[in-house]
Symmetry: C2
Subunit: 338 residues, 2 copies
Amino acid sequence: MRIVLIGFGNVGQSFARIVIKDRDWLVKNYGLEPQVTAIVDSRGSCRDDNGLNLDRVLKVKEKYGTVQKYPASVESKTSIQQIISSVEAEAVIETTPSNFENGEPGLTNIRQSLTARRHVVTSNKGPLALAMPALLELASHTRMQLRFSATVGAGTPFLTFASKCLPGEKILGIHGILNGTTNYILTRMEEASLSFQKALAEAQEKGYAERNPTNDIEGLDTAAKIVIIANWILKRRMSINQLKVTGIQEILPQRILRAKKSGTRIKLIGRLTDSEATVRPEEVPVDDPVCVPGNLNALSFSTEHAGDVTLIGRGAGGEETASAIIRDLVDIRTEYSI
Amino acid sequence: MRIVLIGFGNVGQSFARIVIKDRDWLVKNYGLEPQVTAIVDSRGSCRDDNGLNLDRVLKVKEKYGTVQKYPASVESKTSIQQIISSVEAEAVIETTPSNFENGEPGLTNIRQSLTARRHVVTSNKGPLALAMPALLELASHTRMQLRFSATVGAGTPFLTFASKCLPGEKILGIHGILNGTTNYILTRMEEASLSFQKALAEAQEKGYAERNPTNDIEGLDTAAKIVIIANWILKRRMSINQLKVTGIQEILPQRILRAKKSGTRIKLIGRLTDSEATVRPEEVPVDDPVCVPGNLNALSFSTEHAGDVTLIGRGAGGEETASAIIRDLVDIRTEYSI
């Protein structure tokens, strides 16, 4: 399968490393031979219709900070759109950062890829949070696959679980922790009696929080994931503006302490039921399966006959996110034999 | 899909109730219309090639303790084998109790059903614990499906999760709590400082433990599930005799207390790695996702790229188990269009 990779940060580079390492295994077990024919990063791009040498691309990226210096680089004025439409590829992997204002540049990249009849695998929540119904419709119209396992739970297959593991069972609602950054902050506020600001600073030091942590702490990241689950699993067409969202930035240590004394913990919970879609801090009993520590994610599915089923895993990380992209490619490969 | 139902206890009756309640929904969503053409219980059987009236069968069972009194009952000397081979059906559901001595009567029922070219869905762990490699081979030889989602986790789809949600990912090992009875006993020993005997008595009172609790407390039930996971998920051909199994019957309150003081809990853990397959009490840190309370089950999959992924849910219950049987039927229906 020939692939154009847009975005070559942590996730994109992790993807390249897994492809290098697992190539033989993927071919043998799934008939999947990913061949990256172009890579676009924020400062340039490179292409080779016979397949880029990924080892070499990674070295160039490390040395120069952009893939533009790769021997077979692309004329620097070439637009992403030109690359999407002119490079030989069956699939586009979109890993630019999530933008919840207008979804760009991911939104345009995904639209153009589907229109150019490329399957799309993305780890970018922005376009889906803002325009998922329209993007699903476009994919359906162009008969291309649009996959986004990596957007919810990174390597933990929350979406796949809901769509493949519960046939014949009705999902009545879901709730859980979908953001590791806020979970880490809240955990540390309790464990070490830190203020919100101190816990945030610690999370930033450890690389669990971004320098601009707004999307995480204000709940937008969780809200985007709830939107994706609503559209994909519960077939409810909605966008992020329809959610009531409260973040954790105003949580005081006293509130954490009060919760602890009553056998609960404050967690930023995303929740979807028939009647509501919310993101807000909630008190969760300590022995509830979704009450996970550190930067773990946990999502509980309420089912009609099997009761509550909860899935727990790391919700972030370059390698974890890249593994979800690989899963999506395997799925597309299995369905399309490309 | 026409079905012969063998075993009409809690699981079989729950299955009948779900079929009555969800019939229209299953037809509409999955094209699955389960039609039960015969039911066998320990004291008799009934059949109707045009489909039994399940409401009526349930009433007869409740009133007389056997389905034999159903109007269209079967000549009382008819053997199960005759019913399997003569009743019109595409599938046999086998829900007789698990027997880890010789697997009977389930083992014979499953063999004969596959040989008579019926798909088999079973909730019976005994035959699989003792002879899973042979049964899988027989199913493959007769080109029939042998499904057993209900045997591990009841309604919680541990097996489906591992086989469908992690394509392109390597499962390096698994470990977890696969028996709700022992988990309930251990939880109560800690929570209420009970002795093993008292906690067991309480579990029996609440219906969480059977009158003869040997299979649960000695670890055989967990071991059977480990065997099923080993064969199905890790493709390792093994049977229950190859496992090292230690139960919880000799756990003293002091050991529970010691663990508690060190921030852990004693849990009966089934574990599969490249080099070992064990069932034994282990100390699990309280904030480990598999450290679940009450009678919950939890299974953690160690993966190469996505880290540990843990699935938690109820591991028992008639309705929960029946929901797994429905899932298997939906899967067979989807693959075979019957």
